[in-house]
């Protein structure tokens, strides 16, 4: 039950989107291609998922991601139901799978799931398969430290938009990789799409053991790691990580790993800067960079809706 990858069916088609790991490059490219017309279209309503029910099941707080999924589903004409589970029945002691069973009984077609524990969407997908409800698709909207595949895909869309080709790039991912599901999805996407050099830049306390086995080069200093890169992907530093034994202070973090114009000058002159949002100005990124001409942070947000539309359309069977 837990030994096979449940997200691709035996014809290689997407069944669920749980992680970028294990998706072939051709399939990732197909998703990006499918997103392009949505990104370029002026039309705000398309009859792709008419009559389908999309359930946003968020066990963790999120405004931004939930909203973009909601917008994407509505533009595809789906009915969207938003459930904030931390205030709902799980708080009353219902198990995750009981919740899933109940929602499945409400004739759901798609679950968009965010959960604080790594792997929760896998458990849901496996449970649906084991109980013969394979028609319901699961989209991982972020699970613990594990994956945030639509974020990874929208980042790839953004990079492709500005850089065209992945196979001649050097990309640096900067910040709290240890706790970041975004970083893991980015790494899988970049390595699968053939980026020859993926770098991770962080203090040793924020890099998990065995990181280099994911196909990245680990740097502990910005001056070494940023040199000559084409793309800088910043990660958000969660407030709760700033105290304690991982980092001494925000001030010191900004001084050593914050992206300032001076540090960005080490990258290629045409390097672009991405951030998954929400940003902590003065912590991981200087306002001069965040608002500068190399930042593509706002385009990321619009591309994000198109990419999520493409994923949902593909799972709904029409892309």
């Amino acid at each position: 039950m837990f030994s096979t990858n449940p997200q691709v069916d035996r014809h290689g088609e997407l069944r669920h989107l749980l992680s970028i790991e294990g998706l072939p490059a051709a399939l990732i490219t197909r998703i990006l291609d499918a997103a392009q017309p949505y990104a370029e279209s002026e039309q705000k309503k398309q009859p792709v998922l008419t009559g389908k029910s999309v359930f946003n099941i968020f066990f963790e707080n999120s405004t931004r991601t939930r909203t973009t999924f909601e917008i994407a589903a509505k533009r595809l004409s789906a009915d969207v139901i938003n459930l904030a589970m931390n205030t709902s029945s799980t708080a009353k002691g219902e198990t995750l799978l009981d919740t899933v069973d109940n929602l499945a009984a409400m004739q759901a077609d798609m679950f968009i799931v965010r959960h604080g524990s790594s792997g929760a969407p896998y458990l849901i997908a496996q449970h649906l398969a084991a109980t013969g409800r394979n028609h319901i698709s699961v989209v991982n909207a972020g699970d613990g430290r594990h994956a945030h595949p639509t974020q990874g895909l929208l980042d790839m869309y953004t990079i492709r938009h500005y850089k065209k080709d992945f196979t001649n790039l050097t990309v640096a991912i900067v910040g709290d990789v240890l706790h970041s599901r975004v970083a893991r999805s980015q790494i899988h996407a970049l390595t699968t799409l053939g980026v020859p050099e993926v770098r991770v830049i962080a203090p040793k306390t924020l890099v998990p053991a065995g990181m280099e086995r994911m196909g990245v080069r680990v740097f502990n200093s910005m001056s070494d790691g940023l040199r000559g890169v084409d793309v800088v992907m910043m990660l958000r530093l969660q407030n709760e990580r700033m105290q304690g034994a991982l980092l001494p202070s925000t001030h010191e973090y900004f001084k050593t790993y914050g992206l300032t114009p001076e540090k960005l000058a080490l990258a290629k002159p045409d390097a672009i800067v991405l951030h998954p949002g929400p940003m902590n100005r003065g912590v991981e990124i200087d306002s001069a960079v965040a608002d500068g001409k190399q930042a593509v942070i706002l385009p990321q947000v619009s591309f994000g809706i198109a990419v999520r539309m493409a994923v949902m359309a593909m799972l709904g069977g029409k892309a």
Partner: protein, 431 residues
């Protein structure tokens, strides 16, 4: 009841026997053994029943040094009845249960009650391991002498660490006063806070890592205190190559330490977490292939004394959760023998040596008298077919715990008969 176990391969590691032969049992004890042709009768012995052991191995009943019965306190997960049925179906005739019941085994009355409840015909013999500290909190010592009188064979902390090293030193000294063995898991309470081995798999899956240092730091401190107190310490559930190296060095030095490994750590690695399989959520976490290979070699050479099941029935509600939220533990009593054989096959370990790790070696650690297949010894016997296979499914497992990473596999070996006190406790020929 007079029994003749006819024509099997007698393997009795304690008495250094491995030959075809016959075993004769009367009044709960072995009364005779004939080695040679196999299938011969004993002069002057008229059996009331003959068990055909052709093609089977006849060995002393297995001893499992770590099996949770969930009584008292968690009877919804398992009961003595369900777990004893699992034990005898697995050829296990004797087991030690860790003190992490609810309440913990820190009070002589509780231990007497458990010992009394488990003393029933057809049940495996139960040896409670008493709590080393009250409530397993690592603060106050338990009444060890009285607990021993009530039936405790050793003292331990189950999966809990003693954070205060002063308390640990005193607990070891006090136990050493009476020469009580202390069974501890080497785990630093702070470094062991994650859910998977700190390595590639945990990095990829986004699971909080537990570094090998969680084991080696605790082990280093523990060995230092053994040196100081002379306490007899059995290290439970060893998980790493580095830990094994330290223990091997300590034994060379002459320290009175022994150790065991679980069936899960002997066969699996962190790769077996696969797609967040909660059945692979174990304590200590499954480690790398290098570690597993070292544990397999160590068990073969005897650097690791014992293989145990670390049987921990967990109900589905606590197990079918996202990996990091799932409760640790796996069912194992019925898998101990098949996984011993699987290891022996894969690592080319002589069958008699392999059987020793689940019979004579744990008997030595427990200090069991009259254990073996010689005349006068207790007739606790396991007869199994090494050529047959055991299917591990939710339906076939007798334990109330259906949680194991081996679910769905067919494993070598099938128990035909289990005898306790010369009485048939399990007959697997009907399955």
């Amino acid at each position: 009841m007079k029994l003749h176990i006819k024509g099997g391969r007698l393997i009795d590691p304690a008495n250094k026997i491995d030959a075809l032969g016959d075993l004769f049992i009367a009044d709960g004890a072995v009364v005779g053994r004939q080695v040679g042709a196999g299938g011969t009768a004993m002069a002057g012995f008229t059996p009331e029943s003959v068990l055909d052991a052709t093609g089977c191995v006849v060995c002393p009943g297995l001893i499992d040094l770590s099996a949770r019965l969930r009584e008292p306190g968690s009877e919804y997960r398992a009961t003595l009845e369900s777990e004893m049925a699992a034990a005898v179906a697995g050829g296990v005739t004797r087991l030690a249960c860790p003190p992490d019941t609810d309440p913990p085994l820190d009070e002589p009355g509780l231990v007497s009650m458990l010992a009394h409840r488990s003393r029933q015909p057809g049940f495996a013999r139960v040896h409670p391991v008493g709590a080393l500290t009250m409530q397993l909190k690592g603060e106050r010592l338990t009444e060890m002498a009285q607990l021993a009188e009530a039936g405790c064979v050793a003292f331990g902390q189950a999966s809990r660490s003693i954070v205060d090293t002063q308390v640990l030193l005193r607990a070891l000294s006090y136990a050493a006063t009476f020469n009580f063995p202390v069974w501890l898991q080497a785990q630093d309470p702070f470094l062991s806070r994650g859910v998977a081995h700190a390595g590639e798999v945990a990095a990829r899956l986004g699971l909080a890592g537990v570094s090998v240092a969680a084991e080696t730091i605790a082990l280093s401190g523990l060995l230092q205190l053994v040196r100081e107190t002379g306490a007899r310490v059995h290290v439970r559930r060893l998980s790493s190559a580095a830990g094994l190296e330290m223990l091997t060095a300590a034994r060379k030095e002459g320290l009175p330490v022994t150790c065991d490994v679980t069936i899960n750590h002997l066969h699996l690695t962190d790769m077996d977490i696969g797609y967040f399989n909660p059945h692979a959520r174990l304590d200590p976490p499954l480690r790398s292939q290098r570690d597993r290979d070292a544990l397999r070699a160590g068990l073969a050479s005897g650097a690791i004394d014992v293989l145990c099941s670390d049987h921990s029935p967990v109900d589905d509600d606590a197990k079918l959760l996202p990996f990091e939220e799932a409760e640790v533990g796996a069912t194992g009593l019925e898998l101990l023998l098949p996984l011993t054989l699987k290891w022996a096959n894969e690592c080319k370990v002589p069958l008699a040596t392999a059987i020793g790790r689940v019979t004579a070696d744990p008997a030595r650690i427990l200090g069991v008298p009259d254990y073996g297949l010689s005349a006068g010894q207790l007739a606790d016997v396991c007869v199994f077919d090494p050529q047959a296979y055991t299917a591990v499914t939710r339906e076939t497992l007798r334990s109330q715990g259906k949680n194991t990473p081996f679910l769905g596999l067919e494993l070598p070996g099938k128990v035909r008969y289990t005898l306790i006190d010369g009485q048939l406790a399990y007959d697997g020929t009907q399955d």
